[in-house]
Symmetry: C2
Subunit: 196 residues, 2 copies
DNA sequence: CAAACTTTACTTACTGGTTAGTAAGGTGTC
DNA sequence: GACACCTTACTAACCAGTAAGTAAAGTTTG
């Protein structure tokens, strides 16, 4: 009898884990099947067995992000907008603390022009989902009166997404960037700065 | 007699121009000397004659950006902060309209971990200079009363830089991003929206 | 229950293409 | 004839991807 865990082979999942690490630190064009196979202790062709083309691996990576992000969002539907923002911050910190990774949308949109079309489409969908979530935080915050800011929720959500995406990249040259941006976004939203 | 123009050979400059286009559309890791030589109609080794290592080309590119950006900043010292911001917007638009390019700091910080150390140092300096300029706009705007915003000028300048850097990348999936961000940043600075 | 097969998850060994980089030579100009 | 600016011709490394084979586990069938 097959267990649910068999659906995704252990090796298959470990390939995704290693590829994810490589994608967020080096970018899609700057990692190879060699990197993965040597990290995993198998031969090159073994990676091709699980993901025949590099495009297949790239698409699988983004799809996993999308599923994960959807669960992340759903798990926080009951939180206040301010709490949701803090969760977003926690996510951002987690990326940076793990080898100065940047967020997936940052890699995918930066390398966009060189990505195969199937990856571009997945990237579009992923960016849309992240943007929708940021906008919904801004919209709910305004609706319940907990956030006060200029402009529309659509624009404010987009600004938060863009600033944190750019911020994670800039943090590689100065790690203080993230904290400064987190505080500034709270300030622009009219939120009280949490006591240390 | 040598003219001043000979200091930088015509071919040498054209290599930089083509490399710049490739860097801002494809990224440093995703363009090769082949791309340049075929675009220029010369052989591969001719590029190596002018820039022996790819690192040399990369460093030369960033240094040219830095000189160009310094002239850009100096040419606008006399403008009001709001006018300086509009010039920054114009620069941002120019990138996007040219084959959906992104800003150099976006490429350099995203690919940062894979860049040779000499390029990393140049990139650090370049990012610092861009950041300083953004901060100075926010600072002068507050000082002369033309801009009203929450937080410190340092934080607000950094936020503008991060948002526009991220925004140029996100614009590849939705071109309306830039305009939305430009309007939102004006709003957050308490600037009147210019009439269309 | 066991022999016969099919499938899974690899391996070895390879191809053809691209990469940065080099060495040596040619050509025109001051 | 020295120098600037290129060429041809090459190397060694790496890249994604493929073909064929293998060992073990699972499945089917007599």
């Amino acid at each position: 009898m097959k267990t649910a865990a068999d659906a995704k082979t252990d090796t298959s999942k470990r390939i995704l884990d290693i590829a994810e690490e490589l994608l967020l630190t080096r970018g899609y064009n700057a990692f190879s099947y060699q990197h993965i196979s040597s990290a995993l202790g198998v031969r090159n062709a073994a990676i091709h067995y699980h993901y025949p083309k590099k495009t297949d691996l790239g698409v699988a990576l983004i799809q996993r992000y999308r599923r994960r992000f959807q669960r992340f969002v759903e798990a926080q539907l009951a939180l206040t907008p301010a709490q949701q923002l803090e969760q977003y911050y926690t996510l951002t910190d987690a990326y940076f603390e793990r080898d100065q990774q940047i967020c997936p949308s940052g890699i995918l949109t930066t390398e966009y022009q060189t990505l195969p079309e199937e990856m571009q489409q997945e990237a579009n969908a992923f960016v849309d989902e992240m943007r929708d979530w940021a906008v919904s935080i801004a919209a709910r915050g305004r609706a319940d009166g907990s956030m006060r800011y200029a402009g529309t929720p659509e624009a404010m959500g987009l600004l938060m997404l863009a600033a944190l995406q750019g911020g994670l990249q800039l943090a590689r040259t100065d790690q203080a960037v993230i904290d400064v941006l987190k505080i500034q976004i709270r300030a622009l939203l009219g939120l009280d700065v949490p006591l240390p």
